[in-house]
Symmetry: C2
Subunit: 149 residues, 2 copies
């Protein structure tokens, strides 16, 4: 399926940090702290970090992120972040909460072809979140999510 690595220089299958550019930290926190109900593990005047399920989530002033990465926004082929919930009903509840805390509904919840239920909402900086109920993906009490069919 792929080339073997003769020198065994592969790297751990692990993503450490997801960092989103934001224009205004207070506006962003309204969505993540008041909307999702998440708690920062660290914050200062330019960045807010959240400890997630096995990695760190950062919201960083977009100009700082662009300068650090030598990368302006808009150069990628698009992305979305997923937040899976435990019940079908919670999809609509969370979408509505996020939309009332600075989010913008992109797609109202409905059933995707693979089953379950999902909708999309953009955070105040235009980052797309899919809120999904997907019974095929187990979620541990600690929030660790496993692929399933």
């Amino acid at each position: 399926m792929h080339n073997q690595d003769p020198q065994n220089q592969t790297s751990q299958q692990q993503m450490s940090v997801v960092t989103l550019g934001v224009a205004d930290l207070t506006r962003s926190k309204r969505f993540y702290v008041d909307g999702f109900g998440w708690r920062p593990v660290f914050e200062n005047e330019e960045i807010v970090f959240y400890q997630m399920n096995g990695f760190v989530f950062g919201t960083w002033l977009k100009d700082r992120l662009a300068a650090d990465s030598r990368r302006e926004a808009g150069g990628s082929a698009g992305f979305s972040l997923g937040h899976n919930v435990a019940t079908e009903q919670a999809v609509d509840t969370i979408l509505a909460r996020l939309a009332s805390h600075g989010g913008r509904l992109l797609r109202a919840a409905d059933a995707p072809p693979h089953g379950g239920r999902r909708g999309y909402v953009a955070d105040p900086d235009g980052h797309a979140w899919e809120i999904a109920w997907n019974p095929a993906f187990p979620i541990s009490p600690e929030g660790y999510v496993t692929f399933g069919l």
Copy 2:
């Protein structure tokens, strides 16, 4: 620091899926499978999934992602993904491996103000990855990453 939630409708502090739009799955796999050395847990003609440290990483044909999320690429304030490595030397090794497997170096490795070492590389679809050695962030043998100062 934030409003209390009187109805206790907060949602688990958890990200289930990170999905990147890609133009060509074979080209993308050269970067992730041959460059990083990661192994898909599932793939078909439109998507490749990787089981990560507590969540699922997907690379999906960008037109499908845009249609599903009702969201064209380029509408967000920028983002980067981080991959932390165990040693200072590994930063340069992995950056070079990724650059030779379809990646484009955005920033050569150097020392950030907070210490450690990092550089940035874009995947074949323009998604920015920071490859970092950051001794303050513990990484478990299973790849779970914890925020540290």
